[in-house]
Symmetry: C2
Subunit: 352 residues, 2 copies
């Protein structure tokens, strides 16, 4: 039986968990995806992002995603063996045509060229087109920051979120990610939806029979709701009212029209097979801080300067830096491995 991913259990305290090493996580994901028709290259890139998510205990992007990738193949336009094509569009712009494959391999193809351009020109952009994207954005901005660059990334989704003042879904959950490099420790990274909650959180509330917090969603008539099914049938709300809505709009324009790719509502309309995987673009920026310092200043001083800000924040009890939870998890999972629900493990093994 192939489980419907919407109902696959993300975590389940009632059922048994099993422990896997990170190598086992990678091999399991890669084998399952290849058995389902993904090329070794596509499966390997996806397995790498899934493994990073498990390593950081970002469970909703870990092995939980494998069934989503498999389900995406229900759409005959998907090419699970696509070979992304890299090109240069301008002095500071590179492009990867994902050719209807998945975003992780397109990123693997484009990020080194983006980093090179950024180091050459001070700032550069990467446009990824024609990609199915059901992964998080933090792996790519983190990878760029590990090379000393500052990065931002933007992508649309499907139409789930009503614009401020409206009642019908137009925007995707539209994440924006940002990274800042640090000396001798993981970069500072955030990756946040412009909706009040991730869609998966609403699905988990539905599964568990819980009401939603107020402010997450409206029902199909546009009334505030805390009922998860009514929310899924209605619309999610942007975070922070009209300001979050403006950010969602910006993300649509950057990852859509700016790079000649689809808006979230167009991705939804195109998904006639209900495969659930958003199709379109991703826009990534990389900036080389060493080339933006004031002439005559210490060209590496920006790293220690940023640490003074982080100290200022962290000396206040109750604060933390974005990404800290993921980095803390990383310390543990490298040696102890990760726990996944036995049922999810069985689902994935059935693919092989």
């Amino acid at each position: 039986m192939i489980a419907n991913p919407s109902y696959t259990r993300l975590t389940n305290t009632m059922s048994k968990n099993i422990t896997l090493t990170l190598t086992q996580v990678h091999d399991l994901a890669q084998s399952a995806l290849q058995a389902q028709g993904f090329s070794a290259a596509q499966a390997g890139a996806i397995a790498a992002t899934i493994t990073k998510a498990e390593r950081d205990e970002c469970k909703s992007h870990g092995l939980f995603r494998v069934p989503f990738y498999v389900k995406a193949l229900a759409n005959p336009e998907t090419d699970a063996s696509a070979q992304p094509q890299l090109s240069s569009l301008a002095g500071s712009v590179v492009r990867v045509d994902a050719k209807h494959g998945f975003c992780p391999l397109a990123l693997q193809t484009g990020l080194p060229a983006l980093a090179d351009k950024a180091r050459e020109q001070g700032i550069a952009a990467l446009a990824i087109n024609n990609a199915y994207n059901i992964a998080a954005l933090w792996p790519e901005v983190e990878e760029l920051a590990e090379q000393g660059l500052v990065a931002m990334a933007f992508t649309c989704a499907n139409a789930y979120v009503a614009p401020a003042g409206g009642t019908k879904p137009v925007f995707g959950t539209n994440p924006m990610a940002f990274s800042w490099p640090r000396h001798n420790r993981p970069p500072l990274v955030f990756d946040q939806a412009s909706s009040a909650s991730a869609r998966g959180e609403i699905q988990l509330h539905l599964r568990d029979g819980h009401q939603l917090p107020e402010g997450w969603a409206i029902d199909a008539e546009g009334n505030p709701t805390t009922d998860p099914q009514a929310a899924l049938d209605g619309a999610q709300l942007p975070f922070g009212g009209y300001k979050g809505s403006a950010i969602a709009l910006m993300v649509e324009l950057l990852a859509g029209a700016l790079i000649g790719d689809l808006f979230s509502f167009e991705s939804s309309e195109r998904d006639i097979h209900g495969s659930g995987a958003p199709f379109g673009g991703e826009f990534v920026l990389a900036i080389n801080p060493a080339q933006l310092q004031q002439p005559g200043s210490d060209q590496e001083g920006y790293l220690s300067h940023a640490e003074t800000l982080f100290e200022r924040i962290l000396q206040q009890e109750g604060t933390r830096l974005p990404g800290d939870r993921r980095f803390a998890a990383r310390q543990v999972t490298a040696s102890r491995g990760v726990e996944i629900p036995q049922q999810l493990h069985e689902t994935i093994q059935e693919y092989i």
Copy 2:
């Protein structure tokens, strides 16, 4: 008598208003600033941004600001006759050293070079350093979009805003602005603080004896408050909780450490004369959409593509596009002029 700008009336329904043409607004601002010691070039650039704000009925950045500019001169480090210096830092990066003058003239100096670089390279960045900035960000991103470019701008302020989970001010109100070009109409533009409210709005509530909405601020002990004086003595809150706080942090890093300039808390600590004008950097991005389209596609199609998204939003009752109120005001003020409180007019005339 030189009024304290904090108590100058922004609008006052009790007192009489007078009507000025936009040319009169410009001349009044320019004359007052020059009489107070600003060079013709510095005063002219500031008067131009003040006039744009009055034109758009963005009153808090209109003539209301003149006393703030004058008060900024209380700081002997300010140079009201500074001549900004333009340089190239990398293939896609230009820089303007404002030399302790004000941001509007630095922008006038740097924006044409930024636009040229963006058209040459596809994407480019402008770092403005050593500037006093008490203006809005929308004029610069709008100017770039009027030339067909997509733009973003970021700047810090003084330490007014507590990070999520904390209780003491670290961040500035840290605005982020974005623009998108449109055919035969003003660009789509937003310019929004990463705090729940502008600081000026709290000052207006104090003056008028009104309580604040919940969620704007905490008092000095870190408790939620709706008392405006307690809010000013405590800390403002980011919009949208930890997500707005992450955006405020990103703005600090982009307009601070990335370009070798001050964080908001450093600007505050430096302002020993209480001049109130944030000192530091501004970071501006410009992107040429024509160079980011998919090969073989209609190279101007992105403009009409974006309009399909705007239509999708506006067909929902209750929605609007960012900037629409300012653009509607513009239609009226060009012919009818603008109203300003007689008391503000008198205050400014006393400068001359």
